[in-house]
Assembly symmetry: C2
Homo-oligomer: 279 residues x 2
């Protein structure tokens, strides 16, 4: 596997294969893959054959699976994703459920099969990723997010929710890149702090853009939060307050990179691009 | 983790936690867990602390996840499972989707965290399980199964479909138990043959029972195949023909156990109970 090459998935059912291909052919901004790559590169592991691309692909598969399931009618009921009809619109709901299910398994499979990673590294990646996407991570966060549509949330609850729903996988991308590079515990902890603050800043800006951007720019339906009456960083803090909170979180994130000096510049640029974006 | 103790799952959302508990509290016959245990015991690894129970739990989590998703309205639209309302009936569709998603992640997580298994064993188990439940296994088989509702299938297509949909996880249970016991390649291959024939025999009987048993006995809706006009081993072979085919497959399975002699008696009994069942 090398950078930029689209992942291909063997699948015996033609419609399911087509739906998987439909998602993979339009992979979005791949911010999480960039985080894997730049973290590994910062720590001296730029060789794309040493497992970096496998982890980048696995993280993007997990992210794509979460989007396909979150978009389902029973969840956020979205028609538009990455500028095109969502999978259940382009195909059907059963196919969308199965694509998500299959992507989750595939993410774990490609890590299990990458013998350029040591068995210990693969086990560490498995523990990291399975927790990040599980009940104590992305899945739990999505459940809290749906429950929050029916109640007023304060900043503390929003933060808890988004640490799980969005933050956990962004953190896993950064820590995953560091595991591939053979980082020690102290480095892993420092990068986890960087990534958790970055993940929250990213989500705050997501809430801002839902109010200030249009669907064409976002590639997904804008204004959804207001329609669903959901608590967001914007309803809690206002647009300016939310932007200030994003800037504060981004600063905390960037501060955590200080010990890495100039080698962190590319990773810092990815972080800046995730928060200072307009779509 | 020890045999029979129900698995508990940490989850921050109360409704999702309740739904997970709802499934785990009513775990069904746990045939796949028995296959893991009896295979490991046959090969000399009966110590429940050596990873056997972890693998048994993981396989049952994966099986439960597949049932919860397969029962969804967009899939088989079933109201009854293990004698109680399906998860999307007892809770809601979003919760059922998330329970399944979370169970898949949890299965991988508990294996990743079981340090009584060597890193190499865990990697082997990840590769086995992720393929068994992925596009080239259970998920692909479910897609083929749904596609088959709209067309006539012959025995060859049914066999291919059920090898993936039902057989792959049954095979993973047996091979997983053997990996925990440290089996060599020849033993793994022999047990894979046993399990694949057993899995098919199990499915043939499932098709027979859908026609001959009542919903109360099955704990799920009987007669579904006829209503949906689906091709089954019964529509292809008739009831007696299907029973004869199940007996033939069971014989092939049991034959593969011959080299293990008397130590295979308990595993053989599990196999017999799976095929000579009335519910």
């Amino acid at each position: 596997m090398s950078a930029g090459e689209p992942h291909s998935i063997p699948c015996p059912d033609p419609q399911l294969a087509a739906a998987a291909e439909y998602v993979l052919a339009n992979p979005g901004k791949q911010l999480r893959a960039k985080l894997v790559r730049e973290t590994a590169a910062m720590l001296g592991s730029a060789d794309p054959n040493c497992g970096v691309e496998t982890v980048a692909t696995a993280i993007e598969l997990l992210h794509s699976y979460s989007l396909v399931h979150d978009d389902l009618p029973a969840m956020d009921n979205d028609d538009l994703r990455r500028g095109r009809p969502t999978v259940h619109r382009a195909f059907d709901e059963a196919t969308a459920i199965l694509v998500g299910d299959g992507f989750q398994a595939r993410a774990f499979e490609i890590i299990a099969r990458d013998s350029s990673l040591s068995a210990e590294q693969r086990v560490e990646l498995f523990a990291l990723l399975s927790q990040a996407v599980g009940f104590e991570g992305m899945v739990g966060g999505q459940a809290l997010d749906m429950a929050a549509e029916h109640q007023q949330c304060g900043i503390a609850e929003l933060t808890r929710l988004h640490r799980l729903k969005t933050g956990a996988l962004i953190q896993a991308a950064v820590v995953g890149g560091a595991i591939v590079a053979g980082a020690n515990r102290e480095t892993l902890d420092r990068l986890a702090t960087f990534a958790m603050n970055l993940g929250l800043a990213f989500q705050v800006i997501d809430d801002v853009l839902d109010v200030t951007a249009c669907s064409d720019d976002l590639g997904k339906t804008a204004g959804k939060d207001a329609i669903s009456g959901k608590s967001t960083y914007v309803t809690c803090l206002g647009i300016d307050g939310a932007k200030a909170e994003a800037a504060r979180l981004l600063n905390e994130a960037v501060d955590a990179l200080e010990p890495f000096g100039e080698s962190a510049l590319a990773l810092r640029d990815v972080a800046l691009s995730m928060v200072e974006r307009s779509k």
